[in-house]
């Protein structure tokens, strides 16, 4: 089978790219190992809601028109949103089609799947940033008495044995699971490394409204001093909720979660923690306050009518947090330590020594190869559903130029269909 472009993955990023390719009349297919929104269907816990308000999930030509713009989508709502988008744009998705290899071919790429082979002139990797759990190498040394659960396999507390739980990682996932599991009656110890504290609401608005409106999420990849660092920033400690509830470490301490430092190792039946917790908390408080300072400065420059500036109590850390934990008191270790992409099927020399794809703003280091949906791919918002549209628009333009430049003699001219973008937005 032959097409011009193969998009791998039918999540928000792959669908946004499909929409832009269709608007340029570029022949393409979207290959999806499962169904549309597969990870959202199979790798999320029951109570999860998006961390961004409904209004903020904007896909090309598709935005929220419901009566609860400030609400946060549940997983079924998120899935329905993406399925609705795939239908609305009539994305050419081949579901239940797993890509088994991508290789260089004479005029582009040979893409093998478990449902036949494809040839394409360009490939877009939209298979996500979160395929394989990143756990420390010593995780395998956990005693058999302790269940080891990755956050993508967690659904609800009832799935865990009664008894102590060690949650490793204090980004969005770790703090949400620590809260839910502690409230279920299982005492939680939370191992905290680098994290980013963030209030859910600030000066009368959702924090995402401030970051969106003040342009903080628009920061481009070529505007940051240290892009490698920016791409590794952990997710904000946020929970999708309309009550304005903040899920920072102080909130967790208040319900009885015990905080310890980063998990540093396992030795003689004990988990060992770093003694750096106080500094991790101090760094996070400083970082949060710098963001709030920037928001205040912006609000003041705009002459914005908003409630007065707020500052939050510093993170409370015990004078001497525990440095070890006897694993006999722990039934489950829940890894909320992040994920990395799986490129095991990508048979191209485009990975760096740490297995990350080499790319400049989504243009990979191979002609006609593009990547979407990675943290800070082109902008700070790239990891959000809301970031996929701008990234897909920019990369589809690069992709179209590549197709034009590599077209064999006498290509059939494509008719630009810019009108597609001027059409009224489809409402959800």
């Amino acid at each position: 089978m032959r097409t011009d472009v193969i998009v791998i993955g039918a999540g928000h990023a792959g669908l946004a790219m499909s929409r832009h390719l269709a608007a340029r009349s570029i022949d393409h297919v979207v290959l999806e190992r499962g169904e549309v929104a597969n990870s959202w269907k199979t790798e999320r816990w029951d109570s999860l809601r998006l961390l961004t308000p409904n209004w903020q999930s904007r896909l090309p030509g598709y935005e929220y028109r419901g009566d609860d713009p400030e609400g946060f989508r549940t997983m079924p709502e998120t899935i329905a949103f993406l399925e609705g988008y795939a239908r609305a744009i009539a994305a050419p998705v081949r579901t239940r089609t797993t890509v088994t290899s991508v290789r260089r071919a004479e005029d582009g790429y040979a893409v093998s799947t478990d449902r036949g082979a494809w040839r394409a002139r360009a490939v877009v990797l939209a298979s996500g940033a979160c395929n394989l759990p990143s756990v420390p190498p010593f995780a395998a040394a956990l005693p058999d008495s302790v269940a080891s659960v990755y956050s993508k396999d967690y659904r609800n507390p009832a799935q865990l044995a009664e008894g102590g739980v060690l949650v490793v990682g204090a980004s969005a996932t770790g703090v949400q699971l620590a809260e839910e599991i502690q409230r279920s009656g299982r005492p939680v110890t939370l191992a905290v490394g680098e994290h980013i504290r963030m209030p859910r609401r600030y000066r009368g608005r959702d924090i995402q409204w401030w970051m969106d409106t003040a342009g903080i999420l628009e920061l481009r990849h070529d505007e940051v001093d240290d892009l490698g660092r920016a791409r590794n920033v952990p997710s904000l400690q946020l929970t999708g909720n309309t009550e304005g509830r903040t899920t920072d470490l102080n909130a967790l301490t208040a319900i009885g979660v015990r905080l310890v430092g980063r998990l540093a190792g396992l030795r003689e039946g004990k988990a060992l923690f770093s003694g750096s917790l106080a500094n991790q908390a101090a760094l996070s408080d400083l970082k949060m306050n710098r963001l709030l300072d920037a928001i205040d400065a912006w609000a003041s420059a705009q002459g914005l009518d908003a409630p007065p500036r707020e500052r939050f109590a510093p993170t409370r850390i015990e004078a001497l947090p525990a440095l070890s934990l006897d694993l006999r008191g722990i039934r489950t270790v829940l890894w909320a330590t992040g994920y990395r992409p799986d490129y095991s099927w990508l048979e191209l020399p485009v990975l760096d020594r740490k297995g990350r794809i080499r790319h400049a703003g989504g243009v990979a280091d191979a002609p006609g190869l593009y990547v979407l949906g990675l943290p800070f791919l082109r902008r700070r918002k790239s990891a959000l559903i809301d970031g996929a549209g701008d990234d897909a628009r920019a990369l589809s333009a690069r992709l179209a130029a590549h197709l034009d430049a590599t077209a064999k003699a006498a290509p059939i001219p494509r008719i630009a269909r810019a009108a597609d973008f001027a059409s009224p937005a489809i409402s959800f």
Partner: protein, 187 residues
């Protein structure tokens, strides 16, 4: 970097060289592997002299401009002759040196002029551990406190951020806060 140039900050740290090294080493990670070395000789009693001259890094043997020598001993209340600082005080020396160097480097990078940086360190220890009186008591510090007094052209928050960032990037802070495999052999 504009702010740095405008304010003519001089903390005596060559940040351009450090940033250049970071850039170069991120492309040649093998050269980033260093090996720090010390050799010691027992002088007598609890008195030991430790020397440092050579080390390995950037793919080859390197050398300090001159050999450094440090004496360690125990104080007279331990029935020793007090010919040098205690080894645990040398650990505090390492932490103070590392964090302070970090403060200076980060301040230079952020365009903050330092006038004075004073650190006061305390390592608390229950010596029932090392004396074998109570096996529940650890040998080492049960806590380390560092207090900085910093006079600099920066806000309170900027100075707090210097100290926090310095811990984040400090080798000795990491050595003290995280477990390290130590292998000791004998001929």
């Amino acid at each position: 970097m504009t702010a740095v140039a405008e304010k003519q900050v001089k903390n005596g740290v060559n940040v351009e060289a450090l940033l250049g090294a970071r850039e170069a080493l991120s492309k040649a990670p093998e050269a980033a592997k260093f090996n720090w070395k010390a050799t010691s000789k027992w002088v007598g009693g609890t008195h030991t002299r430790t020397n440092m001259k050579s080390f390995f890094g950037l793919g080859q043997d390197q050398s300090h401009k001159s050999e450094f020598s440090f004496d360690t001993d125990h104080p007279e209340i331990f029935a020793s002759e007090d010919k040098g600082a205690t080894p645990v005080e040398m650990v505090l020396t390492g932490l103070a040196g590392c964090l302070t160097a970090g403060v200076a480097a980060v301040a230079q990078l952020r365009g903050i002029q330092l006038r004075s940086v004073k650190a006061t360190l305390e390592g608390s220890m229950d010596i029932q551990g090392i004396l074998g009186i109570d096996s529940d008591v650890r040998n080492g510090f049960d806590g380390v406190k560092v207090h900085f007094d910093i006079d600099a052209d920066g806000t309170r928050e900027e100075i707090a951020a210097l100290v926090a960032q310095s811990q984040k990037r400090s080798a000795v802070y990491d050595i003290l806060t995280n477990p390290t495999n130590v292998s000791v052999t004998v001929n």
